[in-house]
Every structure is written in C-alpha cells, then in structure tokens.
Assembly symmetry: D2
Homo-oligomer: 245 residues x 4
C-alpha cells in the first residue's frame, strides 16, 4: 500500500460510501461528513476488512473546519494525497425564484461551490506532492460530483443548479491550472437517480436499470484515478441505461 | 410613453450607461449603482435630454438594499416594469486557487449570482404585471450580462467564472419558469473587451473593431426587448469582429 | 437603396418568405428554391409592393446549380451581397438507425451542410466585397437557419441532426475565418414549431404563443444584419414563450 | 473467452492498434482498414500472442464493403458482438472554405459520419444480441472516436469539423435509441496530439506528457466497455496533462 491517502468529502449512504470502499482497497481513507452517523459504521467496516479509515466530522462550507479536517488526515496518513473526492451537496429546494429565501438560495452554493473551493485549497498541496512523487502509481486526482443540474438549469431548480454550475466552473479552472503540474481534475455529471435507501420508493415500477448503482459510480471514479498523465479525462457523464436525456 | 419603466443594475461608464440611454428613449429609467458617481451625471443627461431618470445607490448583494431600490423605483414610476437589466459584477481577481482568500473567491458570486437573484426576485412581479398588461408594446424583459467566463472557466479565473456560470444557471431557470407567464429572460455572453475609459490602453495597437462598442450591446439588448412572445431569444453572444474565439 | 442585394436559399411558405419580405424592404432580393411554386407569387408580391425580387430554381445540393443561381443574381443585382441567408432543409425522416436507407440518412447532410457549403462558397466573395465597401450601411451577413436538432440529437432523428450539427460546425468555422475580414456570420437555433400552413393542425389546442411566428424570425435576422462590426452575435436561439426546453 | 467478438474500424498505427490489442485480451477481434498494411502485422502479432484476430480490407464509406466485412467477422466469430469501435477518419484538409473542392469538403463526412452510420447499422444487431445474452459479462458497447473538432470548429477546419460534429450527433441519437435496449454507446473527444510514428516530430521539445498515449486511450475505451448497465458514460474527453484547452 502506498503511503498516500484518499480523502472523501460528503460521505453518506450512497456515492460517498461506495467511493470510500473502492478507494480503501488501495489507500487509507479519510471520510468527511457533517454528521458522524454518516461514517461511523463505514469506518468500522473498512478497518475490520483490512483497510484503514478515519472519520472526521466536518462542515465543508466552513474554512476552519475543512482546514482542521485535512490537517487531521495529514497527521494520521502523511502529506501525500492520492485522491480527493468532493461529493457534498447542500440542502435541496424545488421552489420558485419568488419563494426561495436568500438563505435557501445561497445554501447550495455554500456547499457545492464554496465547500468545493475550500476542500480544493486544502487538498491541492497534498495532491501536488503525490503527483510529483516519482514512486506514485497514479497521479494525484481531484474529483467533483456534479449532477444533471450542472449543465441544465430547470424551472424551480435555481438554488441547486447555480451551486452545481459554479462547481463545474471551479473544476474546470482548477483542471486548467493544475493539470500542467500533474494533478488530474475530473468532474462527473451524475444524470439520474442513484439507488440508495432514500430513493427506494422512486421509480419502483421500473427495472433496476432505471437507477444508477453507487458502486458503479465508484468504479468510474477509480478508473479516472488510474488514468495516466498522458490521457486525462476531465468530464464524464454517468446515467442508467433507462434514463431519458 | 408607456407607464412602465426600465431598471438597470450595475450602471457604470460602459454597458450600463449605454443601456440606460437606449432604454431611456422609450421608458423612464431607474439606475442602480453602489457609488452615486456612477449615475449622477448620467441621470442629469437623460433628464435634460427629454427622458426621465432616477439614480439609486444600491448594494445588489444586500437583500434590503435591493428591495428598497426597487420600491423607490416603483413609487416613482409605477408597478409595471418593461425591462430589468442586471449588469453588475463583483470584484475581479486573477489568482491561483491556492492564493485566493475565501472573501475574494466568494465576492464574484455575491454580486453576479446572489445579486442577480435578489434583483430578479424584486423585479419579476413588476415584469409579470407588464407582460400581462394587454396594452404593453413589448413583453417584460429580464436581461443578464454574462461574459466569456460564463461558459469557459480558465486557470486563475475561478472566482469570476464561478459567479458567472452560476448567474447563467439562474437566468436559465428563471427563463424556464417565467417565459410561460410571458416574461422574456435573456442572457448575453459578452466575449471581448468593451471599449470604455478603463480599457483605453488595452489592444491599443489594434483597430477599433478589436473592442466591443457599449452602445452596440445596448442596441442588442433593445432588440431582445422588442422580440415578440412568439420568438424569444434566451441567449446571445456578442464579440467584436477581430476577437479570437 | 444600396446597390447590394440579399439572397435567400430555401424560400418556402414559412421562414424563407418572411425573411425575403423583410430584407426586400432594404435590398433587391434573389430567392432560391428548387420548386418555383415556392417563390413565384412571392416574387410578384415583392415587385408589386415597391421592392425588387427575382426567383431562381436551384438545387442547393448541386454545385453547378448553386453557382449558376448566384451568377444570375450577380448579373441582375451587382457583385455586392449585403446578406445571404441559408434556410434550406433536406427531406426529413423520423426513423430508427436500423431502418434508414443510406440515401435517406445522407439526404439531410446533402442539403443542410453540403448545400450550405456550396452556397457559402459562392456568396462569400460578394459578402466580402460588400463588407469592404465603405459606403455599406451594415456588414455583409451570412445567416444559417438551424434547429433544436443542431444541438440535441434525439432518438430516431439521426439523419436530420447529423446534417444540422454539421451545418453548425460549418457556420462556426466560416465565422472564425471571415469575421476578421468583416463578414458577420450567424447561426440561429430555431427551437419550436413554426406557425406555417403545414403545421396548422399541430398544437392546435394551445394558444398562438406555442408556435414561432415566421415574421418574428425574420425580424431577428434583420437585427443580426444591422449589428455593427464591433458587436457581432454568432448564435441565437429562438423559441415561443410556451416551448418546453 | 466469451463467444462474442470485438470489431474495430479504422485500424492504423495509433489508437486503432492499441484498441485492437486491448480488446484482443478478452475477445477475438476483427480489424478493418482500407489498406491491409495497416493490420497485417498486427493480426499476426495478436494471433501469435494467444489472441485471435482477422483483418478485413474495408472501405467504411461504402455500404457494400461494410456489410461484407461485418458478415465475414460474423461467419468467423459468431453473431454476438461485445464491442464495436469506430475509429476511422477521412482525408484531412486545412483550407479556406473558398479553396476546398466539393470532394475535399465532403470527404470527411463520408468517412466520419456516413461510415460511422454504415458501421453502426451492421454492428448494432450483433451488439443487441450480445446485450440480451444473460451470460454476457459486459453490455454490448459501441464507441466512436471523436476529436477536438467534434465540439469546436476552427477556421480552415470546416471539412474535418463538419464530419466530426455530425458523427457526434449520430452517436447521441444512437445512444438515446439503443441504450434502453442495453447497448452502451459512447463518444470520446480526443483533445490533443496522439503519440504515433506520424507525429514523432510534433511537439518534440516538450516532455512526453504533451502527447496522448494511444494505449491509454485503449484503456479508457476498455473501461467504458466494462461499465454496468446502471452507469453508462456517454461522453468522455481525453487530453494529455500539458494540453491547453
């Protein structure tokens, strides 16, 4: 196992947990979520099955909290980060522009974009260190989880989509700045319903291929991570075969 | 002259002033800028040349300030708004993601997106009222001024582009919500240097066609405003003939 | 009236006729269609109402036919072209990829893209001549009529959309080559049903604002034509207020 | 080894050969190129190293030739196709729209789009058969190799980009038609110079990370192929870390 670690922000029962498990097969993992309930049993599971994991309660929209979390991971796992995955989302509102409060409108940006910025600022130096380490197997990789709303902004979705469009802009700017220094930056457009406990009742008359499997997202992220410096993919979309788009 | 008015946020010596002059040919205009220096002489000029104008010192990133400004315009000019143009931009930083402060990073969003949201919330009821007025000559029109950075996010531009991508998402969501109610929402991608006092020294070895003329942007906005409900344009790009793109 | 003329390819009862009438207010117009029935009465109408028009039977997918048509227009109206509008479309098939014949698949490209290329090759020298004429009121303008299928390629639409995507690529390449020489090149994404005799029965339970008015497209094209060299718009979308997008 | 085979059109010394080698690790492969010199030694190499390969001289722009090629592959390897990769490109011209002959302009479309259509028509029934085979390890996968010119159409590039834009439209339409039937359709935007013998002298003062490694493209294609029906990626971009974009 490499001395580098992986860090995942926004660990919950879906994509975050799957990504954590997948990257834990190769790296110690630091799992960030605001609520420890979202990572406690997962940390146990990984540690019991031969991996190494720590959980850190973090508010990604708070600069101090993010700094502290990354420092804790660094103390524990060293100053090289092989992969940083930003998977957090703020509160979601389907509401008219006329009905959203300022707080509700801004909430999505606070997490999806400002949070992604704070997380990137703290992890990029460690990703750069890994990319410059000639013994590193794969380049340091920074992945952002986007959504349909990253590229299409529907009615009543202004809060969510402004945050997601902004995050996509951030990922592109970081890619253009840090790819020449060897860091692989990728943005994933998750276009469809992910099959998690919370969405159990959605699309329930449809076959399983109507929803995205979280483990399959994790596999796609791992494949991004293992791309060589001579073939970086900066954006992928992911959708189930039965999705209309 | 119709009883409806036009309101322009972000009035300065460039696009904002040109738009103000153009729309003042047909409507009373309310001109918003944080610093009264940006509108005082323009308000005089319009009032002296047969138009009607007021200036209102406004911080578009502050909900109370925007509300107060729109209420002042409403008291003065009535409760129908023919056109609302959001032309404000926050502070601009060309800086590495690693060097931006949180304050600097967020500043662009605060104006470009949150400001656009606050402005839209206050003006949409007046735009709807105008669109539903059968005597209105042109549908109520809400126009956002974007930039190259609304669709391309370069290195060192993360602050500016995240704000501009987010504003574009906002404009699309509002368009999809309010077009069916008769409000025309348009987003303009201004792709090039605008020829204003501040950019006098830029591209100065090039012919005038290397820069965009602010009056020509205003004309394009006017043409958007006069489109019928049966032919709304939701996005245009504008660039000078010598621009590389 | 300027000595320059306008030329419109793909004149039928909808957009083409409206564009012809609009540009005939300022220029002599040459109207191209394969079937003379599509322009005969329109030519009469324009000539009787104080304009100047000729109709030329043209197969835009045939190099010789296009060359002959433009030469005829040139002989009649001189060697300066103020505006060239490409509005032709090939046969339309809504069919599975597995059911389309090669002939059917290629038919859309033959008109929408190859035809647009042939038309551009013949008209660009005349547009350049006009743009370089210092007495010209507006820059020489080349406009292509695209569709929703220019940017979204749905199932069963492969023939139509491949032709339209290709035409959009052509328009962008021509814009980048000829804008620096003063020719304004624009592409219009017509996103919705145009209200013409053939679509009379479509959406008939909806209000008029569910369909695009052809005259309003023509007005938008005229507004593109009158843009200055310091503010070219290269792409617009046009849709009725009730369109879902 | 599964009874299904893979078929690659446009086998040359770069991407095609790498894809052939990669997929030959799991499937018998049929390699199509117009000139047998492009596959003869590769076929030998694969057969000698434990794989199975045949080469078939094919003009992808000719319906009869494509049909015959796919039938030959079917006779040899059975009626299930696990993966079909379209990697062919027509002749390339960097020329003004005014200087291109009709033949030159159309040449790119003939291969990139019409060829892709003919190849898809012949392979889709075999891909569907594979996707419906419950013993298939991975869904039938159809991959198209695009380029920077698939999404940006520069000056002097109209021939190449019209063909590539059209191919992208084709891939999207096929994806939307056949994904619900279980076929994975993907389009790859190869954005940069591929490191092949022909490009040896290009960018030679730059480090290797200025060019794309063909084997890395092949690995990305393999990763697309192995995605589950619950997480299809329909578009990826691929560029070397030092590429400007």
């Amino acid at each position: 196992m490499s001395p580098a670690f992986a860090i995942i922000a926004g660990v919950g029962p879906g994509t975050g947990a799957s990504v954590a498990r997948r990257f834990a097969l190769s790296y110690p993992v630091a799992l960030l979520a605001r609520n420890p309930d979202n990572y406690t049993s997962l940390v146990d599971e990984i540690n019991k099955s031969g991996g190494k994991a720590i959980g850190i309660s973090t508010d990604v929209s708070d600069a101090g909290s993010v700094k502290k979390a990354v420092e804790e991971a660094k103390e524990k796992f060293g100053d090289k980060c092989a992969a940083a995955v930003f998977n957090a989302s703020g509160p979601f509102f389907r509401k008219s522009v006329l009905e959203l409060t300022e707080r509700e409108f801004v909430g999505s940006y606070e997490v999806s974009c400002k949070g992604a910025f704070l997380f990137s600022q703290q992890t990029l130096p460690l990703l750069l260190a890994h990319s410059k380490d000639s013994s590193a197997k794969h380049p340091g990789t920074l992945i952002f989880t986007g959504a349909t709303a990253s590229v299409k902004s529907n009615a009543l979705m202004s809060s969510f989509s402004t945050g997601k469009y902004a995050m996509r802009a951030l990922s592109q700017s970081i890619a253009r700045e840090f790819a020449p220094q060897g860091v692989h930056v990728a943005h994933a457009i998750i276009d469809g319903v992910i099959d998690i406990p919370r969405t159990k009742e959605w699309l329930k008359d449809m076959p399983p291929e109507a929803k995205i499997e979280a483990d399959a997202i994790a596999e796609a992220y791992w494949n991004l991570h293992t791309q060589s410096k001579r073939a970086f993919t900066n954006e992928i979309d992911i959708r189930p075969m039965l999705e209309k788009w």
